[in-house]
């Protein structure tokens, strides 16, 4: 039960952060990526705020032997820079630039009722499922 409530609470804080930060505004995201044009640095502050808090917080949290509601920390174990990582990150960047949405802000914007957002989310889920199918072949 604790684990489920923790996930819900973390998601809510995450979603509030998305809406407050301006990440749900696709124009602002695209303006941030328009580095050689009308560059808007706002999202650098989102990244900066997020990294500052997370880097400091993780230092304290990961000193503990285990999280509160699980037996151990589940940290990623891969360390190699493989083809999947580079191809995946490139495709993600292209999609991000085309629409201005990455996964978190798209979900946070679901209730605004915009047709492009409602179209983006199921397509993104289809893409995630497709990745599961083709990942072993790369």
């Amino acid at each position: 039960m604790g684990k489920l409530l923790a996930a819900l609470a973390s998601g809510i804080v995450f979603g509030i952060g998305m809406a407050v930060s301006g990440m749900t505004n696709t124009k602002r995201v695209q303006d941030f990526l328009d580095f050689f044009g009308a560059w808007d640095p706002t999202l650098a502050f989102v990244m900066g705020g997020g990294l500052l808090v997370t880097t400091l917080g993780y230092r304290f949290v990961l000193r503990n032997p285990a999280p509160l509601f699980a037996g151990s920390f589940s940290l990623p174990t891969k360390t190699d820079i493989d083809k999947s990582l580079l191809i995946g990150a490139t495709l993600f960047g292209i999609g991000w630039g085309l629409v201005g949405y990455c996964p978190g802000p798209a979900l946070a914007g679901l209730t605004y009722g915009y047709a492009p957002t409602l179209a983006f989310i199921p397509a993104m889920i289809a893409g995630l499922l497709l990745a599961q199918k083709i990942a072993p072949k790369i």
């Binding site: 684990k3 809510i12 505004n25 328009d34 640095p41 490139t90 605004y112």
Partner: protein
């Protein structure tokens, strides 16, 4: 409040969410990975993932209810472009094991080499895409 300040506060809240997820459940708060697991993991791993995703939807709905300024304008992409972009974002984050939150925040906070390379890669691809998009559409 200036939008730079709001951006830093919003980013800080994402950090708080990431710390909660790690301290309480021992997990990286990576949206693409958690969302993918809702559909691909076994029964015992599904519900917390679904609740995290639902939490993001609820959390995103709250600020605009308190202040209409938090409601963003309609995305400029049409529905067709949104579908293409959504497919690329899903496929790319699935193959690349993460998105802006998992690699860009949680991964870099752990000084993961994979996450630093992934973040530089998707930022570069995003910058090239927007530059070309605006050159071709004029928007």
């Amino acid at each position: 409040m200036h939008h730079f300040v709001l951006a830093a506060i919003g980013g800080g809240l994402v950090g708080v969410a990431a710390i909660m997820m790690m301290a309480l459940n021992g997990r990286i708060a990576g949206v693409s990975g958690i969302l993918s697991g809702v559909f691909t993991q076994g029964a015992g791993e599904r519900l917390w993932r679904l609740l995290f995703v639902l939490g993001i939807v609820i959390g995103g709905a709250l600020p605009p209810l308190l202040n209409a300024d938090f409601k963003p304008p309609l995305p400029s992409a049409g529905v067709l472009l949104a579908v293409v972009g959504g497919l690329l974002v899903g496929l790319g984050t699935g193959l690349g094991s993460g998105c802006t939150s998992g690699h860009g925040i949680c991964g870099i906070a752990r000084l993961s080499k994979r996450s630093i390379i992934a973040t530089l890669t998707f930022m570069t691809a995003g910058i090239i895409t927007v530059t070309l998009l605006r050159l071709t559409t004029g928007g």
